[in-house]
């Protein structure tokens, strides 16, 4: 398959991340293209989640974490002093490993982002936005009659789709997903994967995953990390079929990891 030329949306240059004295990410440079899924794979503790959390500065939450290097999203240096973290996170949404809906109604879950960023002018607009987001997350049909019920009452897969709806309600450019299916059963996983592929038409999606099959199924590009280093990045098919690096080969054939 020939890769269609896409626009670069994230440029990451010489990124280092330290937890105290320990270096978690070592001099990683990576470009991410818009409107496609990029998968980050690697063994546990290789730093792929840490790397992912650099893009919306969620690592700021951890006191001892220090990030050096540059990340530009749409040409903006997100680690510059002028960068407003809240604005950045509006642009770069995140879906977490464990579904984490707020203990509020389904409606309020989706409406939370638009509310805090003042994205709508009226109740009607907000209603529409919530509906649109739920439709995009292919959850609307299942919950349309019970939008006032608690989001935590949904099943695991539904909760994760609710979290995706919540993330896309603020209309981000990039969606980061940190092992979005690891807490779900195969059927729910299949639904989420389908959804990710669909959403990649409109968003740049970065997915951290433990499952190589999943990476193969949903992503166009894959980056393989090992012990904080980016070992290999390339077209998913190529990387899985003809890995250039021996370590990549060992990992995807199951020799370690």
């Amino acid at each position: 398959m020939v890769e269609t030329k896409k626009e670069i949306i994230i440029e990451c240059k010489n990124l280092d991340v330290y937890y105290g004295n320990k270096q978690a990410i070592k001099n990683v440079s990576l470009n991410v293209y818009d409107n496609q899924v990029t998968a980050l794979i690697g063994a546990s503790g290789c730093g792929k989640s840490t790397f992912l959390r650099c893009f919306n500065r969620m690592n700021d939450v951890i006191d001892i974490c220090k990030v050096t290097g540059e990340i530009h999203i749409n040409g903006e240096d997100i680690y510059s002093k002028e960068q407003d973290v809240e604005k950045l996170r509006e642009k770069v949404g995140m879906v977490f490993q464990k579904p984490n809906p707020f203990p509020k109604s389904i409606y309020d879950n989706v409406a939370y982002g638009p509310r805090i960023h003042n994205l709508t002018n009226s109740k009607k607009e907000l209603d529409e936005l919530v509906e649109k987001s739920l439709i995009k997350a292919s959850l609307f049909d299942e919950v349309k009659d019970r939008l006032k019920e608690s989001g935590t009452a949904l099943s695991g897969g539904q909760q994760q789709r609710l979290c995706i709806a919540r993330a896309i309600a603020v209309d981000p450019k990039v969606i980061l997903m940190d092992e979005p299916c690891s807490a779900l059963d195969p059927i729910a996983t299949a639904k989420i994967e389908e959804l990710i592929i669909e959403l990649s038409n409109a968003y740049c999606i970065l997915v951290v995953t433990h499952s190589m099959q999943q990476a193969a199924r949903i992503s166009k590009r894959t980056a393989f990390f090992h012990l904080g280093e980016l070992i290999e990045v390339g077209n998913t098919e190529e990387l899985f079929q003809k890995p250039k690096n021996k370590m990549t080969h060992d990992y995807i054939t199951g020799r370690f990891g």
Partner: protein, 419 residues
């Protein structure tokens, strides 16, 4: 070998369970004995004995003009007409010493009852009305069967003559016993039959409200700041340790603090519920801070991350997500802290909330007592009538605390959200 080990393990478990059951049983027995004795002596404190007397509002004797005003009532001898009414029941008693004994059966505060009757209905002047006059404390107790009439005369508070008067009155069906609502409405008194916990209840209520108003916002704000914003360094750690220590400081020390700072330095009025409430809020603060921090810690970080990931600021995360989830736990802690404060005596003694206060406090700036202080004061009283009053007041405070703890449980069950 293995089997032997298993048997040993099983029997150890059984012993442990038995031990646990025995200790729970013991605790229950103590509780039951405690409650039983308190209620046994206390219940009668809620009742008051009365005698039905035909009171004649003699305008001449009372020196009241036809169009009298309330100020005239102040000087009228209502006690005298009550005495006259009881003399009338025993026409054979002529000796003034016997009369003296006879009139001691009714409360020396009977005038209040009679005065109020006249005040409420001015048309009663120069008419005879049947009124229920409170008995003197001794005969109140005697009527309730709390005094032993078989003791020799020197060992009791009433004479044989009084006893025979009393029994005659009783046989005529003039003596009755009623639930004493005034107990909750009146302040302290030297006479047990008139003393009530109204003032102490109001005092406790005022100081609790003040305590809540001060300690809750400050406590919650402190907890939020320490938990969510404060940098983790030696200084904040030092503060943390000290807050925890504060919860263990003997309460009387807070009283000294209140005395030297609030009263001496800020010159707030002594013995008022304002000062009392402030001192109690100092005591309650650490409890609230600790419980609020625990409740905040229990909020799953994944929820905070979810909100942060959507671009919420830290303050938005705190007020939209953390605080609503932490509030039930905080309120539970607050109620328990307040319940502790309500039962506190020592610091209130230090700031002078221990006076003999007859009037009900209308504002927090008036002298007042509180429930536990009132209990302390009555327990010290020599008069026998105060024994049942003390126990009755203890029952009131127990019910008060029980209600508060019950509210805390309800809060927890109703508002605790699961995630």
């Amino acid at each position: 070998m293995n089997n032997k080990l298993n048997v040993k393990r099983k029997s150890a478990e059984k012993k442990f369970i038995l031990l646990g059951r025995v200790s729970i049983l013991l605790a229950f027995v103590f509780l039951a004995v405690f409650l039983f004795t308190i209620f046994k002596t206390g219940i009668s404190g809620f009742y008051k004995s009365y005698i039905k007397l035909n009171i004649f509002f003699d305008s001449e004797y009372l020196e009241l003009p036809k169009d009298y005003s309330d100020s005239n009532l102040r000087h009228a001898d209502f006690q005298g007409i009550a005495n006259k009414a009881i003399y009338k029941l025993f026409p054979n008693v002529k000796e003034s010493s016997d009369k003296k004994e006879l009139r001691k059966i009714i409360s020396s505060y009977s005038n209040l009852t009679i005065k109020n009757a006249l005040r409420n209905d001015k048309a009663l002047l120069n008419k005879e009305v049947s009124l229920e006059i409170p008995l003197n404390s001794v005969f109140n107790l005697l009527n309730k069967g709390l005094l032993d009439e078989n003791l020799p005369q020197e060992k009791r508070n009433f004479t044989d003559l009084q006893l025979s008067f009393f029994n005659q009155l009783k046989n005529k069906g003039l003596i009755s016993k009623k639930f004493n609502w005034d107990f909750f409405k009146t302040g302290d008194s030297r006479a047990p039959e008139k003393a009530g916990i109204g003032g102490a209840l109001l005092g406790s209520l005022f100081s609790m409200i003040i305590c809540f108003l001060f300690s809750f916002p400050i406590g919650v704000a402190t907890a939020i700041y320490l938990e969510e914003y404060a940098p983790k360094n030696l200084f904040t750690e030092f503060i943390e340790v000290n807050i925890n220590n504060l919860a263990a400081i003997p309460s009387i020390i807070f009283g000294i603090l209140g005395l030297s700072i609030l009263i001496d330095f800020f010159e707030l009025p002594r013995g008022t519920t304002l000062v009392g409430g402030l001192v109690l809020s100092l005591m309650t603060l650490p409890v609230i801070i600790v419980s609020c921090r625990a409740a905040i810690k229990a909020v799953p970080p994944s929820l905070k991350h979810a909100a942060l990931g959507l671009g919420a600021s830290k303050t938005q995360v705190v007020f939209h997500h953390v605080l609503p989830l932490a509030l039930p736990g905080t309120l539970t802690g607050t109620i328990i802290g307040l319940a502790r404060a309500v039962g506190e005596t020592a610091p209130l003694l230090m700031i002078g909330m221990v006076a003999f206060v007859v009037n009900l406090p209308k504002t927090p700036l008036e002298q007042s007592t509180s429930l536990p202080v009132q209990i302390y004061l009555w327990a010290e009283s020599a008069e026998q009538g105060f024994v049942e009053k003390t126990s009755a007041a203890i029952i009131v405070i127990l019910l008060f605390l029980f209600a508060m703890n019950f509210a805390a449980v309800l809060f927890r069950n109703k508002f605790e959200k699961r995630w």
